[in-house]
Symmetry: C2
Subunit: 459 residues, 2 copies
């Protein structure tokens, strides 16, 4: 969140050349907080302030700025300061920035950088989006299994200023293949003369560059890791994903899931709710609202085809919203529960029959409750004259309550099965959003309703 | 997730007394994985296997077991091994276990423990659920600002085996008040003779024992921390929350939010979807399904009150599901977006007018799209005889499309405002679930529909 509170003070200090105060402020604070305070200033002002900080703090603050601000700031003509900043940024943040730059800006900046950085950027930006490769960083420490603990500690001490984390250090063989890891805690607890090969853990969790980024982040969460090593096809260590990036990814994926669930299209926007333009919000929501609107019209066509039934028994219209709502609610519930279990890898497609069985039992209970309530309501509290001659109130009550019960069972089981099928077809289960589900359940409900009416009343 | 795959092998090894193989297996593996493998064995078997591991690994594996298994295992008669395990467990996991024990079991176990551990348990279990105090651990390292870096490193080395983390170390004054922190990285990079007071960061993020646990977890996420110190009212350092616990909390809160959103009651169950009994699932879902069913009946009563309008113009019934669906969809969308922004602290109640303005604009666009489509549909594709004598098709088309447009605006704005109001009233915004919202939106929609019909057609 951007915080405008300090902008006037900072401007005032800048105009009065009180650099020492600003310098102290930006050196001491948390880089994220500083970024929030300066986010609303002009790029020129931000540069002025950033340049007062030590280059490592400067790069950290810069990485916490919104992507569009970052892009604007490096697109200008400040060769020297930009190069200095880019060289210092952590490789994953830098690759992310290059992903967002215009091609000609990126090319111009690339030639300013040392060869190693240039290669690193080209390498990291080559991984497909949403993969572990695209989010990993290349600033990691490695050790050799034949080093002693003492040698390793002094290597880590040298690495400390420049590496993303020094708390997990990976052990590679001479070909660079990942063979183990050792934590800094373990290192400082071990006797100085011991071999790394003897203190390291060989059972190291890792991921491949082309694995889904959410899967990688979940591994970090599940095994309480500080970092997860990323390897290529030959198990060569090429990067790491740190826990803080994993938290960000899980947060983004969660927002995406929630939005899909509510039929909102498109990825996560940079910028908060209020910052994003109304038209952008509209675009993200319009597609599904319109598609679902068309389905709604189709539902109307289905009802219209039962026009004569409805004309002779108008009371059915009074309970249509209840039927739709009950179907939508129970279907959304089961879909949500199953989807959540899929996300947390508690369920898979092969459990489909167990799921159907379980949801059938649950919905049978729900059906009995709801069916009973609505039977009572129709049978005892219908206004006189609601039912035409020749049809008994009992049978009308039966039609409505039986339809409701069937609708609940159908919706619940349908809602539970759809995410499983989506997963099997490698479609994101969250796409089967609650509104889309509700629409299908509505249509099914109408058919059930008039079908039951025909069966019981013959109209 | 429990993994039955190794259970037969482990039983076989146990029966053949091949302890070395088991010992090697449980010493080398990740404690969470080992816990998944042995989770489905009997408590006696689990004890036998656990006791082959070194006590620190044993405590870790034990903490990853489901709570009901943990409870069963310590409720037996194994005084010595239980005491050993409880002494070794990390304080937060242990306090959590004691929360779940029967009072007489807890009392019996407490007297077996050393005084310090007993006090620690009584202290940690005294914090209210859902607070930072209830999730913190007391195994943290502290330093004095007058110590040198060299002294501190050797203190950290001594602390390493027993502390939850040694990567963040907090600095306290002589009263135990939190005055700064230093990372192990910084420590090993600093010159040995420097004072801690000169290398520490004074701007340290912290939380209070009675703060909401989600707020604490969000701080860890936002500032990319490894741990967050927890202080009492006098800013005395009393515990820390680590990033891995924060990740677990955010995952639980996310599941809870999602369930509330879909009108599922109750907290997170221990055990996965398939493990939880159908009846438990039923109980969690029934309350809202029934409440919403009653509201659905009420909606029916409202429709019934417009019986004569509906009788004279049956075509209105065909478009009722569309109206309801459009209202539900757009309302859920805006509610979801606003709720998500509230969760991420991007919005607060004082933004309410900005939110209304924004949602009004978005919904106006949506209204125009949907209104146009449905006007075309009714005007050009209505079956002949759908409209009675004396009423023009144009005015009927107008009634339906204007109602739809108004319904979309009302639902969108209503959906966005409700979470803000809930937050203001200190009710969890997620409780205003999508189904509950849909129900209110449905009722409003019916009133709009027949109100517009009356206004335009005079029926």
């Amino acid at each position: 969140m951007k915080n405008p509170i300090l902008v006037p003070e900072l401007r005032d200090l800048l105009s009065k050349d009180k650099y020492e105060i600003i310098k102290n402020f930006i050196e001491e604070g948390h880089p994220k907080e500083i970024a929030e305070y300066i986010a609303l200033m002009d790029p020129d002002e931000i540069w002025k302030i950033l340049n007062m900080a030590h280059v490592s703090q400067r790069a950290k603050i810069f990485s916490y700025l919104d992507m569009d601000v970052q892009v604007e700031m490096v697109s200008g003509e400040r060769k020297k300061t930009t190069t200095e900043l880019l060289t210092e940024m952590s490789p994953d943040d830098r690759a992310d920035l290059f992903h967002h730059l215009d091609k000609h800006v990126a090319d111009r900046l690339l030639v300013l950088l040392p060869l190693a950085d240039r290669r690193d950027i080209l390498n990291l930006t080559s991984y497909k989006e949403e993969t572990a490769g695209a989010i990993m960083t290349t600033d990691f420490s490695t050790l050799n299994e034949n080093d002693t603990v003492e040698q390793s500690i002094s290597k880590v001490r040298k690495d400390a200023p420049s590496k993303e984390t020094i708390y997990y250090i990976y052990v590679t063989d001479n070909q660079g293949k990942l063979i183990g890891f050792v934590s800094l805690r373990k290192l400082i607890m071990s006797r100085p003369e011991m071999r790394i090969g003897d203190v390291m853990k060989k059972d190291v969790k890792f991921t491949y560059t082309n694995e889904d980024r959410e899967t990688a982040a979940r591994k970090i969460e599940q095994y309480d890791l500080l970092a997860l090593p990323v390897v290529d096809e030959s198990v060569k260590l090429v990067g790491i994903v740190t826990y803080d990036d994993a938290m960000d990814i899980l947060k983004e994926e969660q927002t995406e899931d929630l939005e899909k669930l509510m039929a909102i299209s498109g990825g996560v926007e940079s910028g908060t709710y209020l910052e994003v333009h109304a038209l952008t919000h509209f675009k993200k929501r319009a597609f599904w609202v319109i598609v679902l609107g068309l389905f709604g019209i189709l539902t109307g066509v289905i009802i219209e085809s039962f026009r004569s039934t409805l004309e002779s028994l108008l009371i059915l219209a009074f309970y249509m919203p209840l039927l739709n709502a009950a179907g939508g609610n129970t279907g959304s519930q089961s879909a949500t529960v199953v989807m959540r279990s899929l996300t947390l890898s508690e369920l898979s497609f092969r459990d489909i029959f167990k799921v159907i069985r379980k949801e059938f039992i649950i919905s049978a209970f729900l059906s009995v409750c709801l069916g009973f309530i609505v039977f009572m309501r129709v049978y005892f509290f219908s206004s006189s004259g609601g039912v035409p001659e020749g049809i008994s109130l009992t049978s009308v009550s039966l039609v409505i309550s039986v339809s409701l019960a069937l609708q609940v069972v159908w919706s619940t089981v349908f809602g539970a099965v759809i995410p499983l099928i989506a997963q099997k077809l490698r479609v994101d289960p969250a796409i089967v959003s609650s509104p889309l589900l509700t629409t299908f359940v509505d249509m099914g409900g109408i058919l059930i309703y008039f079908g039951v009416a025909k069966a019981i009343l013959g109209i």
